[in-house]
C-alpha cells in the first residue's frame, strides 16, 4: 500500500470516528444544548477546526517528502476533488430537502443549522478527499 493511500485510509477511519462521535454528542445532549451551553459550543468549534487542519497537515507532510510520493500519487491527488464536489453537492441537497420538509410549516429555520451545515460540509469534504484518494488507487489498479 502506497504511503499516501495508507494515510488516506487512516484519515478516513479517523474522520468517520470523529463524525460519528459528533453526531452521537449532538443527539445525546440535544441540539438545543449547543445553543445554550457556551463551553460545549467552544469545544465543538475547536474540534471541527482542529480535525480538518490536522488532516491537511498530515497530507501536506506526506507530499513534501519526495520518497513517499511520486507522479502517480500526485495524479491521484489531483483527481480526488471530483469526489469532494459530488459529496458536498449531495450533502447540501440533503440539508435543503430535510430542512425544507421539517420547517415548512413554521417558515423559519433555527440559526443553529447554519453552523451544522458548515460543520457537516467541512467534515464531508475532508472525508470525501480521503475517499477520492482511495478510489483513485483502486481505479488505477483496476483499469490501468
Amino acid at each position: 500500500m502506497a504511503p499516501l493511500q495508507k494515510r488516506a485510509l487512516l484519515s478516513l477511519i479517523a474522520g468517520l470516528v470523529f463524525a460519528i462521535a459528533l453526531v452521537v454528542v449532538f443527539i445525546t445532549r440535544d441540539i438545543t444544548t449547543f445553543d445554550e451551553d457556551q463551553g460545549f459550543r467552544l469545544i465543538v468549534y475547536a474540534l471541527w477546526i482542529a480535525v480538518p487542519l490536522a488532516y491537511l497537515i498530515i497530507v501536506n507532510l506526506t507530499l513534501r517528502k519526495p520518497e513517499l510520493t511520486d507522479e502517480r500519487d500526485r495524479l491521484i491527488l489531483v483527481k480526488a476533488p471530483k469526489t469532494q464536489y459530488v459529496a458536498i453537492l449531495f450533502s447540501l441537497a440533503a440539508w435543503v430537502i430535510v430542512l425544507t420538509e421539517v420547517f415548512w410549516d413554521t417558515g423559519e429555520v433555527p440559526v443553529i443549522f447554519l453552523t451544522l451545515i458548515m460543520i457537516s460540509t467541512l467534515i464531508i469534504s475532508t472525508l470525501a478527499q480521503s475517499l477520492g484518494i482511495l478510489i483513485g488507487y483502486w481505479r488505477m489498479n483496476a483499469d490501468g
Binding site: M1, A2, P3, Q5, P66, E67, L68, T69, D70, E71, R72, D73, M140, N141, D143, G144
Partner: protein
C-alpha cells in the same frame, strides 16, 4: 486500442536481480509505482520513463514498447 507494454521486470533481473525498491530509489518513484508499471496498470510520464530506462542502463525503446 494502442497499448504501452514494458520489459521492466525482465530488465531488472538482467541487472543483477535489481529489486523493485532499488529501481524505485534510482528512478525517483515509489515501489508501488514500479509494481503498477510491471503489471501494466500505469502509464508513466515521459520523464519517469527516461529515468527508469537510465536506471536500467538501456534506452527508452528497450524498456517501453508502443503497440
Amino acid at each position: 486500442m494502442a497499448k504501452l507494454s514494458n520489459r521492466i521486470r525482465r530488465l531488472r533481473f538482467d541487472n543483477d536481480e535489481m529489486t523493485q525498491e532499488e529501481l524505485a530509489g534510482r528512478a525517483g518513484c515509489t515501489r508501488q509505482t514500479i509494481i503498477a508499471l510491471e503489471k501494466g496498470k500505469y502509464v508513466p510520464s515521459i520523464v519517469l520513463a527516461f529515468r527508469i530506462a537510465r536506471s536500467l542502463g538501456v534506452s527508452i525503446e528497450d524498456v517501453f514498447q508502443y503497440e
